[in-house]
C-alpha cells in the first residue's frame, strides 16, 4: 500500500485531472508546482502512471526541482527536438533563473533582460550566425529584427512547453523546468560525459536539428518525428 489517493490505475484515469494532464504531457509540457492541482495529481498518481506511459514507449520523469515531463523512448509517441533558438533562449533563461538578482522579483524579469544577457554572452555576430546560419551577409538592422523575432518565437514555444510563463508583452516568469537546460553541467563530472549519458537516455540529441530550424517563419514541424 502507498500513501496515494488512488489504489488502482482505473481510479487514477477516472480522476477529473487525467485528460488535461495527459494531453499536456503528450504535447511536451513540463508540469511543475506552479501548475497547482495538476502537479499534485501527478505526484499522487505517479506510481500508477509510470507503467501506464511505459506501455506507450515513454517515460514519465520527475525531477527533484519539482516538475514532471514525458520522455519518449520509442516510436509510439511523436517527439520533437528543440530548435537552435529555443536552446539558446532556454539556456540563457536557466542562467537568469540561477541569478540571485532575479530572485528579488520572485522570478519575474523583463524580456529586455533576456535579450541583453543573450547578446552579452554570445555576442551579436555569433547570435545572428547561430540563428540564421544560411545568411552569409546581413544588414545589421534587419539581423537585429530577425533575432528579436526568433527570440520571441522561441519564448512562445518554451512557454507552451512549460519552461516559462509569458505574463504580458514585457514580462516573463521563470519556471524550475528551465533547469533541464543545465542538465549536462549540473553534476561535477565532465560535461561531455554527462552529455553522452543524456544522449543515451534519449533526453538530448546531438548536432543540427532535423528539418529547417533556422527560419523565423517555420511552422511547428521543425525537428519533429511523426507518430506512427
Amino acid at each position: 500500500m502507498t500513501d496515494s489517493t488512488f489504489h488502482t490505475l482505473e481510479a487514477a484515469l477516472a480522476d477529473d485531472h487525467f485528460p488535461e494532464v495527459d494531453l499536456m504531457l503528450r504535447r511536451g509540457r513540463h508540469i511543475g508546482r506552479d501548475d497547482g492541482t495538476a502537479y499534485d495529481y501527478l505526484v499522487d498518481a505517479q506510481s500508477l502512471l509510470e507503467p501506464f506511459y511505459r506501455r506507450f514507449g515513454c517515460e514519465l520523469v520527475q525531477q527533484s526541482d519539482g516538475y514532471f515531463y514525458l520522455l519518449p523512448s520509442g516510436d509510439r509517441l511523436g517527439r520533437r527536438q528543440l530548435s537552435a533558438g529555443e536552446m539558446l533562449v532556454g539556456q540563457t533563461l536557466a542562467l537568469l533563473y540561477l541569478d540571485p538578482a532575479t530572485l528579488q522579483h520572485g522570478g519575474v524579469l523583463p524580456r529586455e533582460a533576456l535579450l541583453q544577457r543573450l547578446s552579452g554572452l554570445l555576442g551579436t555576430d555569433a547570435l545572428v550566425r547561430t540563428l540564421s546560419p544560411r545568411k552569409r551577409k546581413y544588414d545589421e538592422r534587419i539581423a537585429a529584427e530577425t533575432v528579436r523575432t526568433q527570440v520571441g518565437e522561441a519564448l512562445r514555444r518554451l512557454a507552451e512547453l512549460g519552461f516559462v510563463d509569458v505574463l504580458d508583452e514585457a514580462r516573463l516568469r521563470l519556471r524550475p523546468a528551465l533547469m533541464r537546460f543545465a542538465a549536462p553541467v549540473r553534476g561535477l563530472s565532465d560535461p561531455n560525459l554527462a552529455l553522452e549519458r543524456l544522449v543515451a537516455r534519449g533526453e538530448v540529441l546531438l548536432g543540427e536539428p532535423n528539418g529547417d530550424e533556422s527560419g523565423a517563419d517555420d511552422d511547428t514541424t521543425d525537428g519533429e518525428e511523426p507518430a506512427p
Binding site: R26, R27, G28, R33, S64, D65, G66, Y69, L70, L71, P72, L77, G78, R79, R80, Q81, L82, S83, A84, M87, L88, G90, Q91, T92, L95, Y97, L98, D99, P100, A101, L103, Q104, H105, G106, G107, L121, L122, A126, R129, T130, L161, P176, F181, A182, P184, V185, R186, L188, P191, V199, G202, E203, V204, L205, L206, G207, E208, G223, E224, A227
Partner: protein, 438 residues
C-alpha cells in the same frame, strides 16, 4: 490623509495643478537642509528660525554634503529663495525689508521630511494600538449618533469626528501599511544582495528574514481581519441611523470611511498572497539551487556551456503528440459559380427636356420690373419671384439683388430695413433708381 470632500473633483484638481505648473525640484542638499531644520525645530521646540540661523545651518549641511563648495553663504541665499518659491519655507514675520526675516517650515516641507525620517512601518504593536483607538472612537461616534437630535448634533458629534479623528486613524493605518510595503521590498532586495555576496553562507540569514516577514504579515492580517469586521459593523450601524434620520451628509461620510476600511482589509489579504508566492519561490531556490550548488559553480559551468553551444550544439527532446485528426464525411468538391448577372442594355437614352436659363430669365424679369417703375429691391423681388419655380426662390433673391445692382442705381440707408417679400422671405431693402433717371 484626510477624507476627500465631495467637491474635490479629481479632473478639476488635476487641471488646476497643471494650470499652475506645480512642480517640485529638490536637490540632495535641499532635502538635507530641510531635514536639519526639521530636526532642530523638533529638538529645541522652535516654531520659526531667524535668517542667520538658516544660513548657519545651511553652511553646516554644505560641509557634509559638498565639502569643497565655494561661497556657501551665497548658496544658502539661493537655497532659501528656491525653497520659498517651492513653498517649502514661508516667511512668517511680515516685516518686509525693515529687518532680517524669520522663516518656518511649511506643511509640505514637514511632510517631505517626515517621509524620509519616519520609520512608520506597520507593526503588531502599532496596529493593535491604532485599531483599539479606532474601535473606541467609533463606539463613541455611534453613541453620539444614537443620541443626536438635530442637524447640528449630527454635524458636530458624528460627521466631524468621522471626517477628522476616524479618518486620520484609518489613514494612519494605511500609511503604515505603505511603510511595510517598502520594508518588504527592502527585505527582497536584501535577500538578493546576501545571496549575491555570500551565496551558501547566506542561506540561514535569508531564511530568518523570510520567516520574520512571513510571521509579521500573518499576525497583521489576523488583526486586520478581526478588527475591520468590527469597524464595518459599527459603521454600518451609524449609517443605518443616518439613513433613518435622512441625513445624507452623514450617510455619505460613513460610506467613505467604510470604503477606506475595506481597502485596509483588502491590503492584508493581497500582501499575504503575494508574499506567500515569493516565499515559496525563494524557498525552492534556496533548497534546489543554493544548497545543491554550495560552491556556486553551476552558473559558471552553464555560462561556458552556452558560450560553447554554437560549436557543439545539442537539443533537448520533448514529447510531441500531434493533435487528434477529426475525419469528416467525404463530399464532392463543389465548383462555386462565378458571380454574374443577366446581360441587359444598361445605357438609357437621354430624355428631351425644355432648356433652362434661370439667370437670363432673372435678368430679363428684373429689367421688366424696373421698366414698370418698381423703386425698391423688395418690390422688384416681389414682382420677379412669382415668375420662377418656388424651389429656387431663396437662391434667386440673391441673383435678383445682383441683377438690380447691375441694371440700376441702388441706395441704402446706414441701417438697412428688412422688407417682406412674399410670405416666407425678407430682404434688406434698397431704394432703386434707373440709371438714366436724373
Amino acid at each position: 490623509m484626510t477624507t476627500t470632500p465631495p467637491s474635490a473633483d479629481p479632473n478639476r484638481v488635476i487641471a488646476s495643478l497643471a494650470r499652475d505648473h506645480v512642480n517640485l525640484d529638490l536637490k540632495t542638499v535641499d532635502l538635507c537642509f530641510l531635514a536639519g531644520l526639521y530636526l532642530r525645530a523638533d529638538k529645541a521646540a522652535l516654531a520659526s528660525f531667524e535668517e542667520d540661523v538658516l544660513i548657519d545651518l545651511f553652511e553646516q549641511v554644505c560641509d557634509v554634503v559638498d565639502p569643497g563648495a565655494e561661497n556657501p553663504r551665497k548658496r544658502a541665499t539661493h537655497a532659501i529663495q528656491r525653497l520659498r518659491e517651492q513653498r517649502m519655507l514661508a516667511r512668517v514675520d511680515g516685516a518686509g525689508i525693515v529687518r532680517a526675516g524669520e522663516y518656518a517650515l511649511t506643511r509640505l516641507a514637514a511632510a517631505v521630511v517626515e517621509y524620509f525620517l519616519a520609520d512608520e512601518a506597520l507593526t503588531r504593536e502599532s496596529l493593535t494600538l491604532l485599531t483599539g483607538t479606532l474601535r473606541a472612537q467609533l463606539a463613541e461616534v455611534l453613541a453620539a449618533a444614537k443620541k443626536a437630535d438635530g442637524e447640528e448634533a449630527w454635524r458636530t458629534k458624528v460627521v466631524g469626528p468621522l471626517r477628522v479623528t476616524v479618518a486620520d486613524l484609518v489613514a494612519g493605518i494605511e500609511r503604515r501599511q505603505r511603510g511595510l510595503d517598502a520594508q518588504q521590498e527592502e527585505v527582497q532586495a536584501e535577500i538578493a544582495k546576501l545571496l549575491s555576496a555570500d551565496w551558501f553562507s547566506a542561506v540561514d540569514r535569508c531564511q530568518s528574514l523570510l520567516d520574520a516577514t512571513t510571521r509579521t504579515l500573518r499576525e497583521l492580517n489576523e488583526i486586520l481581519l478581526r478588527d475591520t469586521h468590527h469597524f464595518v459593523a459599527l459603521l454600518q450601524e451609524i449609517q443605518a441611523l443616518a439613513t433613518a434620520t435622512e441625513n445624507t451628509d452623514a450617510e455619505a461620510t460613513v460610506q467613505r470611511v467604510i470604503e477606506h476600511v475595506d481597502r485596509i482589509a483588502a491590503w492584508g489579504g493581497a500582501r499575504q498572497r503575494a508574499w506567500s508566492e515569493y516565499y515559496q519561490y525563494v524557498h525552492r531556490y534556496l533548497r534546489d539551487v543554493v544548497r545543491l550548488d554550495p560552491d556556486r559553480a553551476l552558473s559558471q559551468r552553464l555560462r561556458d556551456q552556452l558560450a560553447g553551444w554554437p560549436r557543439r550544439p545539442f537539443h533537448l527532446v520533448t514529447a510531441h503528440a500531434p493533435s487528434i485528426r477529426l475525419l469528416r464525411a467525404l463530399e464532392a468538391r463543389v465548383e462555386r459559380p462565378p458571380v454574374a448577372r443577366p446581360r441587359a442594355e444598361r445605357e438609357a437614352d437621354p430624355d428631351w427636356v425644355d432648356p433652362e436659363n434661370v439667370l437670363a430669365d432673372i435678368d430679363a424679369l428684373v429689367a421688366r420690373a424696373l421698366e414698370e417703375g418698381k423703386t425698391t429691391l423688395a418690390a422688384v423681388s416681389e414682382r420677379v419671384l412669382p415668375e420662377l419655380p418656388e424651389t429656387i426662390h431663396y437662391a434667386a433673391t440673391g441673383r435678383i439683388a445682383h441683377a438690380v445692382a447691375q441694371a440700376a442705381r441702388v441706395r441704402s440707408e446706414r441701417e438697412r430695413p428688412w422688407a417682406p417679400v412674399g410670405e416666407r422671405l425678407e430682404v434688406e431693402d434698397w431704394s432703386v433708381a434707373r440709371r438714366d433717371a436724373p
